[in-house]
């Protein structure tokens, strides 16, 4: 309940992406088709909407398996918006740009 309330509040305040530092983590498994598509998609989204105000970390869980437990990962690729709070998660190859922006509470 409190989560959704907060979301609405942030949506109202967070009118622009200017002067915000975005931190993303993208979890992928190896170099599957889904992985490379997701990397390509998030990179272009970041460059288009956040210009220089973002940090994107790409993590291969095959190489760093401990993350699957700490982040409770089942489905991949998984994008987590770490900052600004609240944390948001979205799975898939991120081909639906509008859906990604919606979930991440980014209004264009």
């Amino acid at each position: 309940m409190s989560q959704s309330k907060r979301n609405i509040k942030i949506k109202q305040e967070d009118k622009s992406t200017e002067n915000k530092n975005y931190v993303f983590q993208l979890f992928v498994a190896g170099s599957s088709a889904n992985s490379s598509r997701a990397i390509k998609n998030i990179t272009s989204i970041c460059e288009q909407y956040f210009r220089n105000s973002f940090k994107l970390e790409i993590i291969d869980v095959n190489k760093k398996p401990a993350f699957v437990i700490t982040e409770n990962i089942i489905s991949l690729p998984l994008l987590i918006k770490k900052l600004p709070l609240p944390e948001e998660k979205i799975i898939g190859d991120l081909s639906d740009t509008q859906k990604v922006l919606d979930v991440l509470n980014i209004l264009i």
Partner: protein, 509 residues
């Protein structure tokens, strides 16, 4: 020995296939029997059933038995219940999971899956699960894996991803060479909601629960077992404090060892009717007659004598309580109490309506194993048969009798036949046809006297007496006398017991 007989079981392909296909023992009572040694090793098995049918218990028992009985560590991933709740549920069944977790034999984790919390954009896979499973398997060096259940794991997946990911999951498990149990809820059209078991699982077990006459019965069926012969029947099972017990069907060619040893009936006259030796050891004896005719007295005499001769005897009472039987039998001179104290005589008592018939048999079977009984009394079995007279129950009873025969246990069954149905022996064929020896006690009213007649209807392999005998129970015990003497000693024909037994001998032999 040149003309050695080849029994059908020697030539069936079951024997060589059994050795080809590696199996992983479940350690679950009865399940390894009906699967000819367990579930397929290093392959996935699907367990399908509606909620509450016992999928979680079965799969957890598979893991725990693996650790305890076969020293095979296991991984249990659940998407369903919280693990602490699961542990409480299972510890009530005597499964102490914490101990195994501490010893690094068990990896137990609940994976939180809530599709509503995570949005989706484009294609994805469950590679994260594979990484987790891989970690868990490596951690405890597991050879057994359980995933409980597919429905929660794949909740919210669209059909395309579901089908491809389900296949990948099964192939991944095969690739890792673990023996896996995957649970799924039963579906409407297909067996499971997914309808993919035909493609991916090597073995499919279905659990269901049915309520007949307000008594719920759990059943298990082997739907599919790739590369192995299996029965298509449903097997009833119970879940109690020791987990699941399945009541197996005796194979089509049971290896029944036929004994030529004899066992006394405990009543001299009946022994005399049976070549002076009594019953065969491991045979089934049916005592039939209307209510109050004295079946329990005959059965108790047999039980008393067997336990006296140091044979462990189990008396299953379905009508009277053990204390009632002990008290009543004292009046005819049988001290059953003494036999109970000596540890040779045990009682099983249950009100039939509390349980379904097969549950009785499972409970009795467990008790037989526990006390290592060699003689079993079922008194009366009509009471059980009354509960459900459909053919399902009959076959259950036949299976039980077959089991006793295989174990070389002599069983005496008392069955009540109502006076109207007295001459309808074929009406009771389900019981009488499986009995090796059939003793009938009839009550006849004649000239103001209520006489009881005892005769042996049949006795397989014994040249039994074909005569009818007077049967009477008094404070002095059971008296049996040849019927021809009836007219000679009218009014008190059973008073002189020494005379009777003398005359009895001459009449029989």
């Amino acid at each position: 020995m040149e003309n050695k007989l080849i029994s059908p079981s020697d030539v069936t392909p079951t024997n060589f296939l059994k050795s080809e296909l590696l199996k992983s023992k479940t350690g679950i009572d009865g399940l390894d029997d009906i699967t000819n040694g367990g579930i397929p090793k290093n392959r996935p098995t699907l367990v399908v059933g509606a909620p509450g049918t016992g999928k979680t218990v079965l799969s957890m028992q598979y893991i725990v038995n693996g650790i305890i009985l076969y020293n095979e560590p296991g991984v249990y991933l659940t998407f369903e219940e919280k693990t602490d709740e699961l542990q409480i549920n299972l510890s009530s069944m005597g499964l102490d999971l914490n101990k195994h977790i501490e010893q690094n034999k068990l990896y137990l984790e609940r994976l939180h899956v809530d599709r509503n919390e995570i949005q989706q954009s484009g294609k994805f896979s469950i590679d994260g699960l594979f990484v987790r499973l891989g970690l868990a398997i490596d951690k405890v060096k597991a050879t057994r894996v359980v995933l409980d259940s597919l429905d929660t794991l794949f909740a919210g997946f669209d059909n395309g991803i579901l089908r491809s990911e389900l296949k990948r999951l099964f192939f991944w498990l095969k690739d890792r060479k673990v023996t896996a149990i995957i649970t799924a809820e039963a579906g409407d059209v297909f067996l499971s909601r997914f309808g993919l078991e035909e493609l991916v699982a090597d073995c499919v077990l279905e659990l269901n629960i049915r309520v007949i006459n307000q008594i719920a019965t759990r059943r298990l069926r082997i739907v599919k077992y790739r590369g192995s012969f299996h029965s298509t029947n449903e097997f009833p099972f119970i879940i109690d404090e020791s987990g699941i017990t399945i009541f197996p069907e005796v194979g089509e060619t049971p290896q029944i060892i036929v004994s030529s040893e004899r066992i006394s009936s405990g009543i001299k006259a009946i022994d005399e009717m049976l070549e002076n030796k009594g019953f065969y050891v491991g045979s089934s004896i049916l005592i039939t007659g209307s209510a109050g005719v004295g079946k329990t007295s005959v059965a108790a005499s047999f039980a008393n004598n067997a336990s006296k001769s140091a044979m462990i005897t189990l008396y299953c009472a379905f009508e009277e309580s053990p204390s009632q039987i002990i008290r009543n039998m004292k009046t005819i001179g049988l001290d059953l109490d003494q036999q109970v104290k000596s540890g040779n005589l045990h009682f099983y008592f249950s009100i039939p309506s509390l349980f379904n018939i097969e549950l009785h048999f499972i409970a009795i079977k467990k008790m037989i194993k526990k006390i290592n009984a060699s003689v079993v009394i079922l008194d009366p079995v009509t009471k059980i048969m009354e509960e459900d007279i459909n053919s399902d129950m009959r076959s259950m009873f036949v299976r039980f009798i077959d089991y006793l025969k295989m174990e070389q246990i002599t069983v005496m069954i008392a069955a009540t036949v109502t006076p109207n149905a007295l001459d309808l022996v074929q009406g009771n064929e389900g019981v009488s046809s499986m009995a090796d020896t059939c003793i009938m006690i009839e009550s006849k009213q004649e000239n103001g006297f209520h006489n009881k007649i005892l005769y042996i209807v049949k006795s397989r392999g014994i040249n039994n007496s074909k005569k009818e005998f007077e049967f009477d129970i008094s404070n002095e015990g059971i008296k049996i006398a040849p019927i021809i003497l009836k007219s000679k000693i009218r009014n008190g024909y059973l008073d002189n017991s020494s005379k009777i037994s003398k005359e009895l001998k001459s009449a029989v032999l």
